[in-house]
Amino acid sequence: MSATSAPLVRIEGLCKRYGSLRVLDGIDLDVATGEVVCIIGPSGSGKSTMLRCVNHLEQPDYGSVRVDGELIGVHERRGRLVDLPAQELARQRTAIGMVFQAFNLFGHMTVLENIVEAPMRVLGQDRAAAREHALALLEHVRLVGKTDAYPRQLSGGQQQRVAIARALAMRPKVMLFDEPTSALDPETVGEVLSVMKLLADDGLTMLVVTHEIDFARDVADRVVFVDGGRIIEQGPPAEVIDHPREERTQRFLARIGTGAGPVD
């Protein structure tokens, strides 16, 4: 990260608790434009919650998230942070793409309808332009010829690639991936990861919560290890994954097994 340019995503002092459980306990993280950050950690460590705070699907109790300098979900009024009107939050979310573990494709719409829905209804694009962009995106995620299929007729890996295309159709500044391969059959994990690698190579800014250590090693510019709602350690994959300094990181990596070589 260069010291001169402001970070695209700036997370500051994020705290959140569910009852007595401290899910996030003071998270600070900056992500530069074009950077790919993989967030790893045991389940229940708060990594998904942190990601969901970025587009305000979860409201943090304390702390703030800025994307491109703009506070997300709140605005400052007389020194206090006040919730934004729903309309404004919706506008902010158009710049933040998200891919979910369970795909969450719209089941009553075809692949093409899924992708053009938000560009047309939210951004006001005309059908022809939205369709053209959608077809280009489908080509990019290697799903030509599936435009008229319904999500249920596709494999998990295909559905997740449609979901990626749907998020990209909004031309977001940053993409959030919430365990995008955790719900997939082992044989379709690779096709999703290779599409994500393509996007990373294109220079897309990505925050990826994942258990795919090989993917993180191969694609991430930076790996962040989260445990107990705190960032324990972060740095280039060669350091965090292959030579972790913290004992908790070492134990986590030993437990899940850092496995074989890089993904193709």
């Binding site: 793409g97 719209f106 938000a118 951004l123």
Partner: protein, 295 residues
Amino acid sequence: MVGKTLAWAIRIFVVLVAVEVGSTFLTSESLQWSVVWSYLFDTNVLNGVWRTIELTVIAMVLGCIIGLVLALMRLSSSAVFGSLATAYIWVFRGTPVLVQILFWYNLASFLPDLSIGIPFGPDFASSPTNDLVTPLVAACLGLGLNEGAYMSEIFRAGILSVDHGQSEASAALGMTRRQAMRRIIVPQAMRVIVPPTGNQVISMLKGTSLVSIISMNELLYTVQVIYSRTFETIPLLVVASIWYLVLTTVLSIGQYFIERHYARGSSRAVPLSWRERLGRGTTQPEGFFSHQEAK
């Protein structure tokens, strides 16, 4: 095989009973089919049929509007809205609809005048209750307000049946709550909402006969008026039954097509075609009379 013989014996017995009942019914002197025929397309009867359809439509539309509002109130995070809706459902589902119809019909004896104005303040307009609450209005209120309580539960179940991930995905794409409801949630909830709503419409169609008690000239009341004069009670009840059957059959066919429309994208939920249902379809190897045991 004993089992197979017994199964056939039961089938033959059931068919014989059905034929006996049917022939008794069709050839009965007291049924007077000629009387049935002469009244089937009688102008008064047709007016009654029309009034029944009208009442069904008005009460269902009223019920759906109230039901949707109540469902959204119950699903909202507001405790005030939620408990108001719960109280409404408690009252209107907890008392017989016949009592509710009589209540609205007799509203004047409880509130002689109805007025619009500021609560505990001055009135802007006032009118005798009996001028406003005609039998038609009482019938629509009785049936529609009651229906709202049932429809709210159907809408609520439908909306809750849509996975929460659909709302999250819509929100993440920058849709407002309203857009997500209209474009994503409700269309998918319809798959769960339509079948029970079809049943409600059919129940409502038959339920309109209850308002005969307040002299509303719908189908049942119309035939009652005729047979109180001619004493051809059973033939006229058959006339009414034939019309109710015709209307409910038409509704069932309509429901089939609506269900098929909303089953888009869920291949497993496509209802059988009419040919398949009647067992004559090409893709129906399993009829009533086929056996798995013949191995």
